[in-house]
Symmetry: C2
Subunit: 127 residues, 2 copies
DNA sequence: ACCAGACATCGACGTGTGTCAACATAGACA
DNA sequence: TGTCTATGTTGACACACGTCGATGTCTGGT
């Protein structure tokens, strides 16, 4: 469990992808969400709220090394390459996927903390 | 395949709200999601992937007794009554909210297991 | 029976979203 | 240089979605 993954330190004040701003919030059930908090979290859920993107996340996450090449993902769906590229972009823009280019190939990797934070927010991780 | 997509995870054969069919699935990261699994889960996330509905869930959940009257919810937003009613319907239809009418008033209640299952699915909580 | 209040439903409008074909870009290699 | 392959981008389309005003449906009280 010591795999190299970028992982962010605790304290940041920078402009970050939306997912970075979620970890702060208490579980959904504890107290009413502010309008701003809801506006920050909703895009993350919206990014996941698509069957194709859900499968993409799942395929990337369960892939060896936790990353997957676009070429592999393309073949797994009966959709055009631009469509897959679009979905990956959506997931990347909200901060759920990291993107790294090696040679001609592009690899996507899930941000472990992102899903964990979202899950905790919904399920109320007992900790 | 043969029937409609009833797909019983365990023993249940009833017609159930979509949320009932989620609990069976292993965390997102464990193995690639099947097309059908993704198609079942996505609507749940889509229901939550809206700032207003997120706040509605949060307000209901954090309310005393875990339920809230529509009249209270209406006042908390700067939206028309039909709009709130619509959002509540969406959440109810996917099985995230229970609905009970007492007198003239309608009360909505969170399905605790629903959010927990979703959270576990995303965050990997091994419940 | 009637009226008033609490919610739901309907129809319509503007906007957002998933998808594709066509095109653009960027490495690798001869 | 030029060509091939892997991805991203653009423009366009149909469809879904959030919102509203108007209307319908209950229920309780007068």
């Amino acid at each position: 469990m010591s795999k190299s993954q970028v992982v962010v330190p605790r304290r940041r004040v920078l402009e970050l992808t939306p997912v970075e701003t979620v970890a702060c919030c208490s579980p959904l059930m504890q107290e009413p969400l502010s309008g701003e908090a809801a506006a920050r979290i909703a895009p993350l859920l919206k990014a996941l709220a698509d069957p194709v993107r859900l499968r993409l996340m799942s395929m990337i996450a369960s892939h060896a090394d936790g990353e997957a090449c676009v070429c592999d993902l393309n073949d797994a769906f009966d959709l055009s390459q631009p469509t897959i590229s679009h979905h990956l972009k959506v997931l990347h823009e909200v901060g759920l996927l990291d993107r790294s280019k090696r040679g001609v190939w592009v690899y996507y990797r899930i941000r472990a903390t992102a899903l964990a934070d979202l899950g905790a927010l919904l399920g109320g991780l007992p900790a």
